[in-house]
Symmetry: C2
């Protein structure tokens, strides 16, 4: 694998991860400059009156009722150049074209990661990462939404999906995730790195090019805080790692195991809350993706693909055709600082699809009270996945 | 107002709340018996082999990773009678018809509450409310999903909406909510009563008849637990009630106030997380709806309607027409036991609509990490509501 970092016209970083020689992108073949007329994103825009508008950071506000930090992503960004509505900004540049209307200047690529053009978390140079009180109110704290939002393209082929890439490509993607986790986690103020994929129009994905996202949060997310609290309780009570004991209990129970490989186990968790939900965990206790060995990464590449293929056979249409599952897949990794020793890596893949053309909506109970209700049982989900695995 | 309780054919409770004399439903005019061939819901079904299948309670499983209790609502229920797909089960019975295909035996009603026919929480008589360990695993605790799910119809008119009812009707609805909160909260094992309304196909509502729901939970929901933790911290630090201080800070800041009446204040909270979000709080510290005075209830009836009417003017279509807002509205009330002294009543109304025909989807960041990101600012939401209020 080769890693090549470059910079887009507006100053954003873009990193190519090439599978193997001959490398298709990076130094050898890429067009060195992003030809788009994008102003540097941190250069203030000067108005007609000659006054420069300062670049505003997106901000984080603390919700006093829940304690959650909420990024407010509505701050002014340099949106002077927008690609045509029907273009695919994740496609490679057209060969020989003097001008690219997409984000990626290379004419081909394997895996590419770049900073999101319209991020909800953005570290603006010179910003002081301090809490201020809005209107002098102790209950209205605000601070810059320092952090980073990245996009990861899984293939240059717009018609591909993550489930259809080769094991070698999947391995490159795993390397890219591990790279981003380590590098973003080393940045000042970052508390947590979240690598995830949203797939399907049912969850609002409008861009069908196979891609995922990576968020570097300057705070611990509510879900991670809740998981740390449980892990801490469990450790205080038993001296043991919660994630380890959950995996062992699932293996002993042996009712909801979906996939086992040398280094990985996929199972429907005992208290699955979604219509389809699977967790994929390593057999060895590891905190995050960078901590995986070569052997674990290689095994993960094939296990991940096999899991996605099982999920794509979960629902069948009226003519017996498989229905690609809309899903959210997200890596739960140890935070950068707090609670690393309590955390254990695992992937969660879940879907809002209850049946072909039937969605689980997150209405009053879920969105109002954060209380989930399952309309099925984990054993039924597991039985279906075990059936399609045969 | 008159309250009349009756029982449906399958044993479920149904309660009429009539606005004023002459009462349209209840003892005087209702058809006393539900004519449907529904078996009692707690009578075991005897199979062809003569074996009676025991009634299974829906169960609660504890998610070890988060500590959340998850109801599993897939247990067998008596589904022998189903109304035709195109019928409206919330419509009043047809005058003179010998047979009703809906849930409500009365030929007219003002407000009616009844137990949901397919509940995710159900107290089965004789069930012992104890935690058991599945497969003997300490991390797999399970207990019956004791509790109750009720439906509340706001009007017998299927074309009405909550925003269109009269203040008198709204007052009856408030009385019904307060009645259910007090009565359900007095039942053994109930920890929290949640009155809410889901409106709009955008959040999955398939039944357009104006109605809401009431859940009596046998556990504290994650959102309520998070709010209690913050309220407890705030009280330990300041000796004061968090909800009171939040309201006072919003009033002092005076930037996001949407509506003020003698007894109520509506505001967009400082850290609003939804594209449209308003909280409605009483000026006086009260824990829940039953604690409201007559004057506060009367004032709430008009304030609630005014707020809904503002929200229905928030978005405007291409021809200037108002777009009825899809929304979730939920009452945050003090739990039955724990933390009552830390809790303060308020309503939260919010929407997933970002713009006409544009939804906020709850994808990886929200559904995976419970982390919300706002695409707007609370001040913009408030400014729009202040504009349409003029």
């Amino acid at each position: 694998m080769r890693r090549t970092s470059t910079t887009l016209a507006d100053g954003r970083e873009l990193i190519y991860f090439d599978d193997s020689e001959p490398f298709v992108s990076g130094a050898a073949t890429r067009r060195l400059d992003d030809p788009r007329p994008l102003p540097d994103r941190f250069t203030p825009i000067v108005g007609d009156d000659g006054v420069a508008l300062p670049i505003e950071s997106p901000e984080l506000r603390r919700d006093a009722l829940t304690g959650d930090w909420i990024p407010m992503a509505a701050s002014r960004m340099n949106r002077t150049f927008l690609p045509p509505a029907d273009s695919n900004p994740l496609a490679p540049a057209k060969p020989g074209a003097a001008y690219s209307d997409g984000e990626i200047p290379a004419e081909d690529y394997d895996v590419v990661v770049f900073e999101n053009r319209f991020p909800s978390l953005l570290t603006v140079p010179g910003t002081v990462d301090e809490v201020a009180l809005t209107d002098g109110e102790a209950l209205f704290p605000v601070r810059p939404a320092n952090g980073r939002c990245e996009v990861i393209c899984f293939s240059a082929d717009s018609t591909a999906s993550l489930a259809s890439v080769s094991p070698q490509r999947m391995r490159t993607i795993i390397e890219a995730w591990a790279d981003r986790t380590a590098e973003l986690g080393a940045r000042p103020g970052i508390e947590q790195v979240f690598c995830f994929e949203n797939r399907g129009k049912e969850i609002g994905v409008t861009l069908h090019h196979p891609h995922g996202q990576i968020y570097a949060f300057p705070y611990l997310t509510p879900r991670t805080l809740a998981m740390l609290a449980q892990a801490r309780d469990h450790h205080a009570r038993t001296g043991r790692l919660l994630g380890r004991d959950v995996l062992d209990a699932e293996l002993r129970s042996d009712k909801r195991i979906v996939l086992e490989t040398e280094h990985w186990v996929a199972y429907v968790p005992f208290a699955a809350r979604w219509p389809v939900e699977v967790h994929l965990a390593p057999r060895r206790d590891v905190p995050d993706l960078p901590a995986l060995t070569d052997a674990e990464r290689a095994d993960l590449a094939t296990a991940y693909l096999e899991l996605l293929r099982l999920l794509d056979r979960f629902f069948v249409g009226p003519d017996g055709e498989a229905i690609p599952l809309p899903y959210i897949a997200g890596w739960h990794q140890a935070p950068v600082r707090e609670g690393r020793e309590l955390s254990r890596l695992h992937l969660e893949v879940f879907s809002v699809l209850r049946a072909p053309n039937k969605l689980k909506y997150l209405a009053g109970v879920e969105s109002g009270m954060a209380a989930w209700i399952s309309d099925t049982t984990p054993e039924r989900i597991a039985a279906r996945l075990q059936e399609v695995a045969r």
